[in-house]
């Protein structure tokens, strides 16, 4: 093929690809990018009980969030809950993925379906299940913990952060298992056998061979779980009740109860910014630390 023909094929390909992607691009610019920009604008508007939203440019909402300790406490609670839920998913989900990966074909398929399936079941239904299990002082979870002798008096789970963390960890667990599972698929089982033939024990193999190789999977799972937990709505709203607010439920309140849209928009934009910074920052750190594995 001559250079000229090559260039013309390239032009034709570029034209074809733009023609194919243009409808979707227009949809996304019109119905996603513009609404997001409008929301950022909204967070700078003024609002009053009687005058409603005034399209002016002021920093009132941002100053209120920065100065009122209520918001600092609420954001701190949001990220604390998300972090604890992430830790639980990592500590339980990573070993489970490893165990799953060592099962034989048929069992592997069945349990993978059982553990990943809940991901697609309505979050409302799953959280309702936890509300039923927690239910008051003689809920099933408390009865179980007391009969095992782990606790003496019933623990409060409903309307507490503990309950929110447990339910969130359950809701997010499939993402962690999936992420570690994907990392395990890249591990060569022969390395494990080689270590064993050289006399390494089970614990040494996990610590020195498996863990370093699946760590990128654990960390990228942690990023997904953390960002989804920090912006979760259904679980904190149902388990936390009306008083224990996190960022998403507070924004919902401002929009649909108080009707202070500009303040709600500011809370949402701040949540988005914080998450983008955390996700991009930790992604960069992971990629630098584990450049070898990703190559």
């Amino acid at each position: 093929m001559t250079a000229a023909a090559d260039t013309s094929t390239q032009t034709a390909e570029t034209r074809a690809s733009w023609a194919l992607t243009l409808p979707a691009l227009m949809l996304f610019v019109g119905v996603l990018v513009i609404p997001l920009l409008m929301t950022v604008m909204l967070s700078f508007h003024d609002w009053g009980q009687y005058k409603g939203i005034e399209p002016v440019f002021i920093l009132k909402n941002w100053q209120e969030i920065a100065s009122d300790p209520y918001y600092a406490e609420m954001f701190w609670r949001t990220f604390r809950i998300a972090l604890l839920a992430t830790l639980i998913t990592a500590v339980l989900g990573a070993p489970e993925a490893y165990i799953l990966n060592r099962m034989s074909g048929r069992w592997k398929g069945i349990f993978l379906l059982l553990i990943l399936g809940p991901l697609l079941i309505s979050v409302v239904a799953r959280t309702l299940g936890w509300a039923l299990l927690f239910g008051g002082n003689n809920g099933l979870v408390n009865k179980l913990l007391m009969s095992l002798g782990l606790i003496r008096a019933p623990l409060p789970f409903m309307f507490t952060e503990t309950g929110m963390v447990v339910a969130l960890a359950h809701v997010m667990m499939p993402f962690m298992v999936l992420s570690v599972w994907a990392a395990l698929q890249r591990v060569d089982p022969q390395i494990e056998n080689a270590a064993m033939s050289l006399g390494a024990g089970a614990f040494t193999i996990i610590r020195r061979i498996i863990l370093p190789q699946i760590m990128p999977g654990v960390l990228s799972g942690a990023i997904i779980v953390f960002s989804l937990s920090a912006s979760a709505f259904a679980t904190p709203a149902i388990i936390g009740g009306r008083r224990l607010k996190v960022a998403a439920t507070l924004a919902y309140d401002e929009f649909l109860n108080t009707l202070n849209w500009p303040l709600g928009a500011a809370v949402a934009v701040l949540l988005l910014l914080a998450l983008v910074l955390i996700v991009v920052g930790s992604n960069a750190l992971i990629e630098r630390r584990y450049a070898e594995v990703f190559r």
Binding site: S17, I34, S122, L128, L133, M196
Partner: protein, 268 residues
């Protein structure tokens, strides 16, 4: 390859119990014959499933969710299939940016999307309408439709297409008779996954739904906020049954791990 020891299997059993307990509890309570919540359940009755029929708001919400899920995932495919074909085949300027934009609804918290859509559609005078819900759902399910179609289009054998071209096929005929049948499993799975996402979405939809356009998750959520009784567990159990059916079909048809891992995802 070593096998799992007794300690690992005990951990595994406890883990599976943890994952299934809330779902099993909802389904058990749904069959209670009592007029109140009780655990453990004594007896078995379909009483609360029959009661659903006398709550028109739940029945109406179910039809809204079903229609919304089916139409929005279909519309999403109309935009996603051409885009996936372009991204899978051609290396053009802006390709990575476009792919990132199209997958961005996965990254943006749904609460932010809900607020953005509420603001946008209200200012257009479309607040609380089915049309607004539909467009918002198309955006949210788009990444799922795109990813599975993309995976199918990337793995497609193009020699069949070339044979068709050499025999004189072109344009839409080529797409309808050759390309589409080849990528159909991916397209159908993309539709099913998009449907499930739309059918289950609460966080974004709760901002947009008004009385009359409330979806089933929104109706369930608002109900739970007031009180938790066996009625809402029987509605949840029905939703779980619907999702499980879709899931098993999806697993048979395409493989659940492939669906969820989103193979063929650019940049990953």
């Amino acid at each position: 390859m070593r096998t799992n020891g007794p300690l690992a299997l005990t951990f595994h059993a406890l883990f599976v119990v943890f994952m299934l307990a809330p779902i099993v509890v909802v389904c058990l309570v749904a069959f209670t014959p009592e007029g109140f919540l009780s655990l453990p359940v004594n007896g078995f009755s379909l009483r609360w499933f029959r009661t659903i029929a006398s709550y028109p708001e739940f029945v109406h919400a179910f039809w809204v969710s079903l229609g919304l899920g089916m139409v929005s995932s279909f519309v999403a495919l109309l935009f996603a299939v051409p885009a996936a074909l372009a991204i899978a085949r051609y290396r053009f300027r802006g390709r990575d940016v476009l792919a990132a934009l199209f997958l961005s609804p996965l990254m943006i918290p749904h609460v932010v999307l809900g607020i953005a859509f509420l603001r946008f559609f209200t200012s257009l005078g479309l607040g609380g309408t089915f049309a607004a819900l539909l467009i918002a759902h198309v955006i949210v399910v788009f990444p799922f439709a795109l990813r599975l179609t993309l995976a199918a289009a990337t793995g497609m054998d193009r020699s069949v297409e070339m044979a068709a071209v050499s025999l004189g096929a072109g344009g839409f005929t080529l797409f309808r008779r050759v390309t589409l049948p080849l990528i159909l499993p991916g397209v159908i799975s993309g539709w099913a996954l998009a449907f499930i996402q739309s059918f289950d979405d609460l966080t974004m939809t709760v901002f947009l739904a008004a009385p009359g356009t409330e979806t089933l998750p929104v109706r369930m959520f608002l109900y739970i906020q007031d009180n938790i009784d066996p009625l809402v567990t029987s509605v949840s159990a029905s939703v779980i049954a619907i999702t499980m059916t879709a899931l098993i079909l999806l697993d048979r048809f395409y493989g659940l791990d492939r669906v969820l891992a989103g193979k063929g995802d650019p940049g990953r």
